[in-house]
């Protein structure tokens, strides 16, 4: 079946099997490898992208369900403003980097939609993104610090 969507502002359309997952449409049709498959069951969030402005776990969405939608992946977040602050924070707090898509997308979305850059707010917002390496605290601290610097 024909499935089409915008990914990071560019249109992509392809003939895919109905069972094709959104994550595979992003990684293989659009050839964007920044979004990762960590668990396959929607628990780890490494596959998180924005769909029509909200975070979704792309490993649990059929590409067909995303037909006609606007997708933003970690590659498409840009380097300005809040997204830039989040990226800078991650660049100095990540260890293995595999959770980056989930952290970057979710934190950026949360902060851009009025979320408070507090320890508690960020910790709750990131509750669906697993990180096995850092224990979360360095990431949360770094994001809060970057947001604080951004204000000055």
């Amino acid at each position: 079946m024909r499935v089409g969507m915008r990914i990071n502002g560019q249109p992509y359309e392809a003939d895919v099997e109905p069972r094709t997952l959104l994550i595979d449409f992003i990684r293989d049709v659009a050839n964007m490898k920044g979004t990762h498959m960590g668990c396959g069951t929607g628990d780890c969030g490494a596959c998180t992208v924005l769909m029509d402005g909200r975070p979704v776990k792309s490993c649990l969405v059929l590409a067909a369900q995303a037909d006609g939608s606007d997708i933003v992946t970690v590659e498409g977040l840009g380097g300005d403003g809040i997204a830039g602050s989040v990226k800078n924070a991650l660049a100095r707090s990540l260890q293995c980097g595999f959770c980056a898509p989930g952290m970057a997308i979710t934190a950026t979305w949360y902060l851009e939609n009025g979320g408070e850059p507090t320890e508690e707010g960020l910790r709750n917002a990131l509750s669906g993104v697993l990180c096995r390496c850092t224990g979360y605290q360095p990431i949360i601290e770094a994001i809060a610090e970057e947001m604080d610097h951004g204000d000055r």
């Binding site: 079946m1 099997e17 109905p18 069972r19 997952l21 498959m37 396959g40 069951t41 929607g42 628990d43 969030g45 998180t48 769909m51 909200r54 975070p55 979704v56 776990k57 649990l60 969405v61 059929l62 067909a64 369900q65 037909d67 979710t106 979305w109 949360y110 917002a125 509750s127 669906g128 993104v129």
Partner: protein, 278 residues
């Protein structure tokens, strides 16, 4: 890697089309948000010929609050339910919805998915049971209404939805300001099934219980269930009443050990939130 088996996919434009498809192709799976259905497909627990996507059906959307009755469409996303408020009933629903999973799960997950599949640890069913909601289910023989004041929809319950039916909406009476509400749950790991959950509503005026409703659920309970509490109306809210409510909650859930302790603590929290002097 987890990939579904092959299937055909259809996204009908109307409820009628959806029901026709479901009748034509018996070997089908309905998905609305997909957070449950797509996972079942990936694990190959089901291998339907056809997947019917009802997530964008206009008849299944929307919040309607007219003349004291609130109607919620089954395809409403949990993130949309999270944003509800302005009345005790909607606040209870919002609180339960915001407990489901995490923000990304709530973007896709729907009211229907959380209510119609019979998972005892789901968050919305106890809230609907406490609200005495009525579900509208539609099938090839037309519409039927299922009351949810005691028991959940879906799964093994008497109110279960048949394979050729769809949940369209749930309705419940709005409640006046003055009602307090509570939703809480206890689990072990985040995103894992909750062991026990409690939804409660109450109105206490000058220390007298005008109304008190509670539903309990969780994996330790094995189902969601509404408690019979009507006989307590008119009583003064005392420690004795609290104990009686707790006793009824515990006896409706045949669990022991940590599950029982978790449930008991939630019932205590609920009663405290409802403002009794305990």
């Amino acid at each position: 890697m987890l990939y579904p088996d092959r299937f055909e996919y259809a996204r009908p434009g109307t409820l009628e089309e959806a029901l026709e498809l479901m009748a034509d192709v018996r070997d089908h799976l309905v998905i609305s948000g997909g957070t449950v259905g797509v996972l079942m497909l990936k694990r190959r627990l089901v291998r339907p010929e056809l997947v019917v996507d009802i997530g964008r059906l206009p008849e299944l959307g929307g919040v309607d609050a007219a003349r004291g009755t609130i109607s919620l469409g089954s395809a409403l996303r949990l993130s949309e339910l999270e944003g509800l408020g302005g009345s005790p009933a909607l606040s209870l629903i919002s609180s339960a919805a915001s407990s489901v999973g995490d923000p990304a799960i709530r973007t896709m997950g729907t009211l229907g998915g959380n209510v119609a599949l019979g998972d005892p640890s789901n968050d919305i069913p106890p809230a609907l049971i406490a609200l005495g909601a009525i579900a509208t289910v539609v099938g090839p023989d037309g519409e039927r209404r299922v009351g949810l004041d005691r028991s959940p929809l879906g799964g093994d319950s008497l109110g279960r939805i048949r394979g050729d039916e769809l949940l369209v909406r749930v309705e419940f009476g709005d409640l006046p300001a003055g009602y307090r509400w509570y939703y809480g749950k206890r689990g072990i790991r985040h995103l894992d099934r909750s062991i026990a959950n409690v939804a409660a509503l109450g109105l206490t005026v000058d220390g007298v219980v005008e109304d008190l409703r509670m539903a309990v659920g969780g994996s330790a309970c094995g189902t969601s269930a509404g408690l019979r509490l009507e006989d307590l109306r008119g009583a003064r809210m005392t420690a004795g009443i609290a104990d009686e409510v707790t006793r009824r909650a515990m006896s409706s859930c045949p669990c022991g050990g940590y599950g029982a302790a978790a449930l008991e603590s939630l019932v205590g929290d609920a009663l405290a939130a409802l403002g009794g002097s305990i």
